[in-house]
């Protein structure tokens, strides 16, 4: 039977969902199924999956000329989520489903050859877009149901197979009078076995990490192997305040696009901690590719990007970090698309002071030549170092410290961090930023009020140590965080003094 049907579906562009109309036209002619509307390879392969799925669900695949158009035609379509709407469109246009209310529903899902439905990526941004467009009903694979249920304003129905769906459609959704499933966001606290209490000694380092967490600053740890740089860094998520609902949705959306959404955890509660290996490519780090995908820095949005063994990263990989570290987003421009991904992350990096790792060690002798050390340090460029607020030397542990007990647990530190964050939240209510590290020049001038002693100390230090203008601003930001931690309005000389301590790489130049 000849016919036409328009089925609503959706896909992801960048990190946002957008609606796609799947138009199916069946007419007489040489039998063929063609899919048009800028489909990529996965969408074109839908053809064979749909043919098999329809046949194996006990329906006829029409021997007709079938044209499937994905509108709007100018946006590239990717992913396997169009399998289900194409199959439903073909069955409806050929008169095998007689339901009239199909237009009210949005269909998403990948079909297996036997007609079962498989989970697809990017459900959360799609559900949010549907909610914004006032489309209330969504049919999707059962395994994606929890993700869609985060958006409470739409009724999502999870199904297992094409056959099950057609049976439901034929009954005009009578059995679906049951409540659509709704889950509360924030399922349960994610299990985390890490705790700062595990780290013995390193009081100075712990203090620096607390400051870093309180102001969302960038931190570089330098120390010999085995001093606990990695151990300390991995525990920073345990002292960061949990994501707010708005932040959680932003971050979970990015993870959903990549296919990292876990229905066990639901909406992310803990801040992401991304720990890419140093062989990572620049595209994998900042995002991009022919079909642009968010990179590690976007996956670390509202969380922590940890780069262990910093000098081992390819130089050009580190250099691409410069711009997103300042603008807190990354613009991926390709000949076909320009996409902006959010990338508001804290950078924590760890490195050894020299190739052998023992430069400045009290017991071990460093075997590196000055040239080797110079080469090693030169891998990290000045502009990148300039964007780091705190430099922290992590010395090796003393034997007495191994035995240390009563180390402070993460929970206690987290409480102090949250108190400092509360100050910032109040202060930045009207500023559209969340933390001290995000302040721009104007905001620094407005909020970083110094006492006269603090001012003169900073002035002297800047002259003596030849800080750049950016380093000057960063010292002020760290000092502001220190004053927040003590619940003080003005920045005092002691705050400036402590902030200056963390500029050791400006002070001790390893090169000389």
């Amino acid at each position: 039977m000849n016919g036409f049907k328009n089925i609503l579906s959706a896909s992801v562009y960048g990190i946002n969902g957008h609606l796609v109309h799947v138009e199916v036209d069946i007419s007489s002619g040489l039998p063929h199924l063609s899919i048009i509307g800028l489909p990529d390879a996965t969408v074109r392969e839908a053809r064979d999956r749909v043919i098999s799925a329809i046949k194996n669900s006990g329906y006829q695949f029409p021997t007709k000329k079938i044209i499937v158009n994905l509108a709007p035609a100018e946006i590239r379509k990717e992913g396997s989520a169009f399998d289900l709407p194409i199959a439903i469109g073909i069955l409806a246009a050929s008169g095998q489903i007689k339901t009239k209310s199909l237009e009210e529903w949005c269909f998403i899902g990948e079909l297996a050859l036997d007609g079962q439905l498989r989970a697809v990526r990017g459900i959360l941004p799609i559900a949010m877009e549907l909610s914004a467009q006032k489309i209330k009903k969504l049919i999707l694979p059962f395994s994606n149901l929890k993700e869609a249920a985060i958006v409470q304003s739409i009724d999502s129905i999870g199904i297992h197979s094409l056959k099950e769906l057609i049976q439901l459609l034929e009954q005009e959704f009578i059995p679906l009078s049951k409540e659509p499933l709704h889950f509360s966001p924030y399922q349960e606290d994610p299990l985390n076995s890490l705790d700062f209490a595990d780290v013995k000694g390193q009081k100075f380092a712990k203090r620096a990490l607390e400051i870093t967490a309180a102001g969302a600053h960038n931190l570089l740890l330098i120390g010999p192997p085995g001093s606990g740089k990695t151990m300390l860094s991995k525990r920073i998520v345990t002292i960061l305040p949990p994501l707010s609902l708005e932040e959680a949705i932003e971050t979970t959306k990015i993870h959903s696009v990549i296919g990292l959404f876990s229905s066990k955890k639901g909406l992310m509660r803990m801040r992401p901690f991304r720990n890419p290996h140093h062989t990572i490519s620049d595209i994998a780090l900042i995002g991009g590719g022919q079909n642009p995908k968010p990179g590690e820095i976007s996956l670390a949005h509202n969380g922590v990007l940890f780069l262990d063994e910093l000098p081992e990263f390819e130089r050009h990989v580190l250099e691409v970090l410069r711009q997103p570290l300042e603008s807190r987003e990354v613009v991926i421009a390709r000949s076909k698309d320009t996409i902006t991904y959010p990338a508001n992350f804290m950078l924590i990096a760890a490195m050894n002071p020299c190739p052998c790792g023992f430069l400045g060690h009290p017991l071990h002798e460093c075997v590196c030549t000055p040239y080797q050390i110079q080469k090693y340090m030169a891998k990290i460029s000045g502009p990148l170092l300039d964007r780091i607020d705190l430099f922290l030397e992590v010395p090796c542990l003393k034997i007495e410290e191994y035995e240390e007990e009563n180390t402070e647990p993460s929970q206690t530190i987290c409480k102090r961090v949250m108190a400092a964050k509360e100050q910032q939240k109040k202060r930045f209510q009207k500023e559209n930023i969340h933390s001290n590290a995000e302040m721009n020049a104007k905001q620094i001038k407005k909020f970083c009020k110094c006492t006269p002693e603090a001012k003169s100390l900073l002035k002297n230090a800047t002259e003596k140590l030849r800080f750049s203008a950016r380093a000057y601003d960063r010292i002020l930001k760290v000092a502001k965080t220190l004053s927040d931690m003590l619940n003080q309005e003005e920045i005092e000389a002691t705050h400036i003094a402590e902030a200056l301590q963390y500029r050791s790489l400006d002070r001790i130049n390893y090169l000389n």
Partner: protein
């Protein structure tokens, strides 16, 4: 002494067998051995639903070289489609449904493959 049959004779015999197979299904013959510059169509039939079916008949006396239906490769398919388009135009059949079937004959029996192939390259 029995005279060995020519290939042509075998072909005609098998096409007769094929026609018989389809007539038993209730399909009606429209034309057979339609020859154009682009190639020959063995059988053209019409089924109960008025779908016009172009049939390629393939015979193999032994399966030692594989099953006969595998020999209808894209080159042959395109030739058949081109010939079918000529037939449709000459007989003003536009508006009907069309289909290409393959009927494979081997010593052990018959296999009918409905809608064996289609092509996006050509359309009417």
């Amino acid at each position: 002494m029995m005279i060995k049959k020519t290939t042509r004779q075998i072909g005609q015999e098998k096409e007769k067998e094929a026609l018989h197979f389809f007539e038993e299904k209730g399909w009606k013959l429209i034309a057979k051995n339609v020859l154009y510059r682009t190639g020959e169509i063995d059988l053209i039939l019409k089924d109960q639903e008025n779908t016009i079916i172009f049939v390629e008949v393939k015979y193999r006396s032994s399966l030692s070289h594989g099953v006969p239906q595998l020999t209808v490769l894209p080159y042959k398919q395109n030739r058949l489609i081109k010939s079918a388009l000529t037939f449709i135009k000459k007989n003003k059949l536009q508006g009907h449904d069309f289909r290409f079937d393959v009927l494979a004959l081997f010593p052990a029996g018959i296999e009918h493959i409905p809608n064996a192939f289609s092509s996006a390259k050509y359309s009417i």
